[in-house]
């Protein structure tokens, strides 16, 4: 009987070969899908070659190497699962609404000079808007390609795809220096050790995850303008359990809202920033939430302002364009949608359906 690792790799090889054949069978009538399919198939076929050479390696059964070969197996197995659940599922069920979304996102990317390949998009997720990072796949809920008010969140997801290590390092340096100073000051002023420890925890959370989310929000606000602020408030109203909750993956919604307002003000959108702020206050009062004491410790306004400045500077250096209604028809439409909705929520759907229909006839010519 072959040893365990050999069995596992043979099983995985069969899974990869199946995925490769599924990808080969995907109809090649849509250029966007073909380009993406070829990219993923190339990676899958590369994994097939790696597994074949591992199976052929006489060292596979060598006891001193078994654990490392097992670890290699796990990474390959995870990748197969990601490809299966993401690209293969999306492409094998690709519909007109997915193509519309993909082309809409591609047009958005063109408008602001997105410095990365446009993703394949699919309206097939139960997890709100999300990005499957190593595979450049953007997923949105089924209904969203037919509605305009949530689409600004696409800009946030596009920012996730950037993964510019130098930019992230720049943001991290900024937040780290800020908290290092705060910690030194707290120690000098003999703060209680629990408060100093809290500062150290926040420094770590900013470094690990919060900066990425703030960076994505701020880039989205920079390129989409006020519409992203309105969408953020709506999303908080829908999904937030507490506006001040500190999670491992996301900063508090209230802090994100402040950061978005700062970016809008920085870009000169003073009137909409003020209106969004008023709506936020109304939501805050309606939900009867209270700001906890440590909130300002975790999310100092001075640091948020510094991060806004870093994002603006990065966008300018990377050639990413700021929101301009004259040259960005899709971003302008999303802003107009919010203006229409706020002026007349009851009749908005009629206006929205007409705009969606016009967009579809432009992006999906018969």
């Amino acid at each position: 009987m072959p040893n365990l690792l050999e069995q596992l790799f043979h099983d995985l090889l069969q899974r990869y070969r199946f995925l490769s054949s599924e990808l080969a069978d995907i109809p090649s009538s849509i250029p966007e899908v073909v380009t993406y399919r070829n990219l993923i198939k190339e990676r899958v076929d590369r994994s097939v070659s790696i597994i074949e050479s591992l199976i052929d390696d006489p060292c596979l059964a060598e006891p001193s190497l078994a654990r490392n070969n097992y670890h290699a197996y796990k990474r390959l197995a995870e990748y197969a699962q990601v490809v299966d659940e993401g690209p293969v599922t999306a492409m094998s069920r690709f519909q007109n609404r997915d193509l519309f979304l993909t082309r809409l996102v591609s047009a958005m990317c063109g408008e602001f000079s997105f410095p990365h390949r446009g993703p394949l998009c699919s309206a097939i997720t139960t997890q709100y808007y999300c990005t499957i990072l190593p595979l450049d796949l953007l997923l949105v809920p089924h209904s969203d390609p037919d509605h305009l008010l949530g689409l600004p969140d696409i800009y946030h997801e596009l920012a996730h795809l950037l993964r510019d290590k130098a930019f992230l390092a720049q943001l991290r340096t900024r937040s780290q220096a800020f908290f290092d100073d705060e910690i030194a000051r707290a120690q000098r002023d003999a703060w209680p050790s629990s408060s100093v420890d809290a500062l150290k925890r926040y420094r770590m959370k900013w470094f690990e995850t919060w900066l990425i989310e703030f960076g994505c929000d701020l880039l989205a606000t920079y390129v989409c303008g006020p519409a992203f602020g309105w969408t953020n408030t709506r999303l908080c109203a829908r999904l937030s359990s507490s506006f001040y909750e500190i999670s491992n993956t996301h900063p508090a919604d209230a802090a994100r809202t402040i950061a978005i307002r700062l970016m809008l003000q920085c870009q000169g959108h003073f009137v909409p920033a003020h209106k969004i702020d008023q709506q936020w206050q109304e939501l805050h009062d309606t939900a009867a939430q209270t700001e906890p004491q440590e909130f300002r410790l975790a999310f100092p306004v001075a640091l948020l302002e510094a991060i806004v400045a870093e994002v603006v500077s990065y966008c300018q250096s990377a050639g990413i364009k700021a929101y301009d209604p004259k040259t960005m028809p899709i971003a302008r439409l999303l802003n107009e949608a919010w203006e229409q909705f706020l002026a007349s929520p009851a009749s908005f759907r009629i206006w929205e359906e007409t705009r969606i229909s016009e967009l579809k006839s432009t992006l999906l010519p018969v």
Binding site: C59, A72, Y128, Y129, D180, T209, I212, T249
Partner: protein, 129 residues
Amino acid sequence: MSDISALSHDYEATSQFAEKVNTAVLNLKKKLSGLQQQPDLETLAGIVEAVQNQLTDSTPSAAVPSEVVVRLRAEHQRQIGYLVDDLNSAQEALRGKSPVDQNVIRILDAICDAADASASAVFRRLRRR
């Protein structure tokens, strides 16, 4: 807004680290077993040094995913000083100052195990299992 995009970042960083350290250790072991491999000892020494730095300094760093460091710390909580010493010795051996022996392999295996467990944990979190 979804946790998926944030966790995708985590998974990418952790799995890439796990793959990098595992491949380097595998090549080193093959070399020690007399098989034809050219191990990248400098890369390994750099990883060991980064782990050591992150264990001894609470300042965040992107060189090693924090979950890997947390796992190593949890597994060696009572002997963290010995772990740091072992990491230092391993680093010196990988830089040619002493022989690469079984003690070095043991410490490299510990890093591989922590990296593998971290990548698997983030992957499971992505699936909410």
